[in-house]
């Protein structure tokens, strides 16, 4: 993302548009050009900023000054004073108001440009991923050297625990604690595994790390192996990621040649061997016990737990399984310390989070920002607003097993605890942002279609429940659903959660629960009125 000195946001909710937000935007654009500032200042129409008393609002970062109501006549003064001369144009400021609820985010960001903060993507896109020298020049393998020569396993665990790093695969389990479990399991043979079976729809952060900075994962796995007492590791990369597999294999070879893998690493008696294992197209293999089964050459069906992989994992030995993004956080924490890491994001879930942004927005892509940013900020700032200025309706987080987040929750800070409190899930960091032309029944149907196909079929609640839920949703979309069907859906969702063996089935019902909780009226319109309010569903009158 390009770096700007200032960022200017123009509100464009219906009230702002009516009061001339478009004209203000155009005037700002031509004034900024007139002063030759177009490469220093980003200008964005951001939709609803949550405040409607002095529209249109113009918000200028990094000072977070709110101007309003702004007219096209006073744009010249605003640009000259604030953006050119650097003084706040105080006569144009919006009336001071207790900022609460929706717009509170402006308060908390006061004086800071909510900039990207890259930790795990620090090198991706900057270094040559196929050159180990490039990695070493950018502080590569320093953390491994420090861990092996200066730190005991205990010091590594306590550093990770103190940093507050939590697993980034979706569940958010504290990483240091997991490592300690594996360390405590007594065995002469242990394994570490990097879960790079990134298959959660809408998630492509791990691919970027694997392709852009492969050595960081090797370094992290070596540190993990040293800490927990393992001497062998696997990188389980999904079959579709062929470039990532090639890069990783090359990186492993380079690391072996340089002595970062193999025997007597950094002159110690620590040895570590690393293999790349390709998946073959199965979503369920992202579940850690299914992944282990798959490495063993079997069908990727999750095991019953307990026992957990920390005691009985690969080939029955204690095994540490961590997600790519989690591991990518480890070397920087070891190198720079827990306190440094703690300084990003909220205290309960520190650090950064990589989000993938897609859907009906102006700019899709991938960002790494401190935990605790809100959806409204993501849409307004990084996604450059909704496409064609249409209203934001919902976001779907964490791929298919995430939550459907209605617009009313767009000011909830996105961190593990705040989201849990609001009854939604952060998941793997995918943000599918949908406008008002998205039908919730259609969306839920697509999500359930995914689960029905990806269910491994081992346990009945998941295999049958997802199929049945998909059929009922199809009927609703065809205009033949009944009110009884909606009750059945709710029951299925609950059964999936309560009775399924693994995370796939347990979260598969979430879209159903979410649409019935937040968009009940829209769903009922399909049933009672036989109308799809967005005109997306076929409504052909067929029934399965």
């Amino acid at each position: 993302m390009k770096a700007y000195r200032s960022m200017v946001l123009v509100s464009s909710d219906p009230a702002s548009i009516e009061q001339g937000a478009n004209e203000v935007y155009q005037a700002l654009q031509s004034e900024i050009n007139a002063y030759g500032l177009e490469n220093e200042i980003s200008l964005t129409m951001v939709g609803d900023v949550g405040r409607h008393d002095a529209v249109p609002l113009v918000i200028v970062y990094p000072e977070a000054v709110i101007y309003g109501p702004v007219t096209k006549e006073n744009v010249h003064h605003l640009v000259e004073e604030h953006l050119y001369k650097g003084r706040i144009a105080s006569t144009l400021q919006a009336p001071i108001k207790e900022l609460s609820g929706k717009i509170a985010w402006l308060n908390t960001r006061k004086g800071t440009l909510p900039a990207e903060q890259r930790i795990v993507l620090e090198r991706a896109g900057i270094i040559d991923p196929e050159s180990i020298d490039d990695y070493i020049i950018h502080d590569g393998y320093q953390a491994l050297a420090k861990a092996l020569t200066e730190m005991s396993p205990e010091e590594i665990f306590s550093t990770l625990e103190k940093s507050g790093l939590r697993g980034r695969g979706g569940a958010g389990f504290p990483t240091g604690t997991k490592w300690r479990f594996v360390y405590k399991s007594k065995s002469s043979k242990k394994y570490v595994i990097c879960n790079a079976d990134e298959s959660e729809p809408g998630t492509f952060k791990d691919r970027l790390i694997l392709e852009g900075d492969p050595h960081s994962i090797i370094e992290a796995l070596a540190i993990a192996a040293y800490a927990v007492g393992a001497d062998e590791g696997y990188l389980y990369i999904r079959g579709e990621y062929t470039i990532a597999q090639q890069r990783m294999k090359k990186a492993i070879q380079q690391a072996e040649e340089m002595g970062f893998l193999g025997e007597n690493i950094f002159g110690t008696d620590f040895e570590f061997k690393l293999h790349v294992h390709s998946g073959a197209g199965a979503y369920i293999c992202g579940e850690e016990t299914a992944l282990i089964e798959s490495i063993e050459g079997k069908r990727g069906e999750p095991r019953a737990r307990p026992p957990y992989p920390t005691t009985n994992g690969l080939w029955g030995k204690p095994t540490l399984v961590n997600n790519v993004e989690t591991l990518a956080n480890v070397p920087p924490i070891i190198r720079r310390g827990a306190d440094w890491y703690q300084s990003f994001g909220p205290a309960s879930s520190p650090g950064t989070k990589v989000y993938t942004i897609m859907g009906n927005v102006n700019q899709t892509g991938l960002i790494e920002v401190p935990m605790g940013i809100t959806l409204r900020e993501v849409i307004a700032i990084y996604a450059k607003g909704m496409k064609n200025g249409k209203p934001f309706k919902l976001a779907q987080t964490g791929g298919s097993s995430g939550s459907i987040i209605p617009a009313v929750l767009q000011d909830t800070p996105m961190d593990f605890d705040s989201f849990a409190k609001a009854g939604v899930a952060l998941g793997s960091g995918a943000l599918l942002i949908c406008d008002e032309e998205t039908c919730v029944v259609d969306l839920a149907r697509v999500l359930l279609n995914f689960f029905r196909k990806e269910s491994c079929g081992k346990c009945n609640p998941c295999r049958i429940g997802n199929q049945r839920a998909y059929e009922i949703l199809t009927n609703v979309a065809e205009g033949t659903g009944t009110m009884q069907d909606l009750d059945d859906l709710m029951l299925l969702s609950e059964n999936l959660y309560q009775l399924s063996n693994c995370g796939l089935g347990q979260t598969a019902g979430a879209p159903i629960r979410d649409i019935l909780a937040h968009f009940r009226a829209e769903v009922e319109a399909h049933v009672r009125l036989k109308v799809c309010p967005t005109g997306i569903c076929p409504m052909s009158g067929k029934r399965i």
Binding site: G202, A282, G297, G300, T364
Partner: protein, 159 residues
Amino acid sequence: MQGNDKDGALVKKAVHAAVEHFGSSQDELIPILNEINRTIGYIPGEAFDELSSLLRVPRSQLFSVASFYRMLSTKPRGKHVIQFCESAPCHVVGGREVWQAIKDFLKIEEDETTPDGHWTLVTTSCLGLCSVGPVMVVDEDIYGNVDPAQVANILEKYR
């Protein structure tokens, strides 16, 4: 179907090459199957027989593994395989219309092969290319931001 008449010697050769490359242990089974699938285009019955005797693993077990994974096919496929992403991120940005356009062009449904054996149409879940959805993959070539109007042009290239 034509594909079933795969030369037995060719299958045997592919199986042996894969086992030789990866080694004959159970944990290499999926890489081995992947490799056979890649060289032959699918995993024919003869390959299971051969593999079963080489690895000393029952044929049923091999088949149960092969049929579990989406990237492994136990049925012959067309000359060109079209994978279409049907996950939500592609769906909400116009994937539905593109999917319809592909089906209209090929006149087949999901998981079918055209009678001339030229095309096989399959859906796939997320390929991690969501920022450029809708996404379709023809053999190994990836197409992003696909528009229904472009479908015919893209596919004509593989005639």
